[in-house]
Amino acid sequence: MARKVLRHPLFIRVTHWVNMIAITSLIISGFYIHNPLKYNFFSTMDAARKLHFYMMYVVMAGLLARVYYAIATKDYQNIWFRFKDLKNFPALLRYYLFLTDKHPNWGKYNPGQKLVYSGWGFLLIIQILTGLALYKPDTFPTLASIFGGLNIARLIHYLVNWIFVITVAIHLYLDLTEGLGIVKSMFTGYVTVDEEEPTVVTKEQLRQTL
């Protein structure tokens, strides 16, 4: 018997889409700021920088809200990557490399997702710190010294941006190919599950729903 289960509460849905808009704009405007001749997406540097700085505040708020939610509702149990998740990686790799068709039930997110999602939080903090050092070098000279100078901060900011580009691409690809039900649930919040089949929702999550 199939029934609908809440997979993503409203708060997660809102922060997800807010962060998605912010990070996408940050990546695009960031590439323009890095090399305006090569990545010619904007009319002027001023426009690109303005968007970058608005979205900087949005993503900071988005990260803060998401982390607060994760701690306040114990949602971190679903999403936070732990070292014990490492032992599940071989099984996950076997699935992704088509060696087996079985995707074991690890709860709401599989260990790969946990690694990427908690990694984004960590990388965002690095981006915020290096970004602030570059944004207001006069106000935050200490930040620049932590990274060993502004140029190193700039290099870190640029390379971590590439990690975002790659992981967002993987995230998009896997979500679109692993079943549109999951994608839909990020809009509606609900996912259809079969009672007989292993559920993609944790017991914790179910308890919150019911």
Partner: protein
Amino acid sequence: MNKISRREFLKFASFTAATLGLSQSVPEVAYALENAAKGQPPVIWIQGASCTGCSISLLNSVHPDIKEILLEIISLKFHPNISAATGHVAVEAFLGEAEKNKGKFFLVVEGAVPTKDNGVYCSIGEKDGRELYFSEIIKELGEKAKAVIAIGTCAAYGGIPAADPNPTGCVPVSEVIDPKKVLNIPGCPPHPDWFVGSLAHVLLYNELPKTDKFGRPKMFYGGIIHDNCPRRQYFDNSIFAKDFSEPGCLLLLGCKGPVTYSDCPTRLWNGGVNWCIKAGHPCIGCTEPGFPDKIGPIYEKMPEVKLPGISASADTFGEVVGAATAIGLGAHLIGNIVTGRLGGHKKKDKEGEK
């Protein structure tokens, strides 16, 4: 309220003017400085792994000019370039002066300190038939000095002698001498005002000026070049020079203005005539720690990414990894279709909807 005499007031005002860097436009400052500092303070200037460029740059000082600085404002006890004495006489001269003015003199160090193999790569003289290594001498003099001014990026952060692969093991002065005692005046070369202004501050307040985390006086290294750049409007309007002869922002030619702390754009060089960017050359970031390795290459925006066996520009690195990901995802997509997993899932979804 404190009572101050007219003379004291003038002294204070002129020192403040010098500290603020007005020395180029107000000749009276030089006069006042000279009066206030007569016979004071003893300065010993020594050079290690350096090119003497910092000493040459000091010749550029306008008010006070170099003659006034050397003969009237400071009491220069020793400087290798203008020392009449040579050999052991010269060595005895500065060691003797250091002993005589113990705790009173300022030690100005130009150049990095080679420390590899006990500092054998930089010997600045002989005493009792034994070579005097620079690393030992500045330790000895540094303890006796009232304060140490590390002039130039080499002395302040290692600079060019400490650049990769650093064969002589060069380190900044602050790693050999107690960093609290050291004032860094980086720059390749530093502006003469940065040195004279800092000296004026020390003479006036009897303490080292307020510094940032990298030991530089905030009054000269407080802001970044990019924010005060006369070509900033070009940057905001996305007019970028593709050639050195073009007007426009020099960012894409490798300008390090956005990552360099210095007051060059407002202070200008050669007596206020010109400076690097006004002359059409990108800023090379010479006042920054890690110059030239971490701030270079001069005509590229970012340093290279170095991994074991691989060295590539940050752009190439990102693009290669990005392309590899795209190929990987494409291959996985083919796998998804070939194994029928993608189709299978869709079927399952449809069944679920029923």
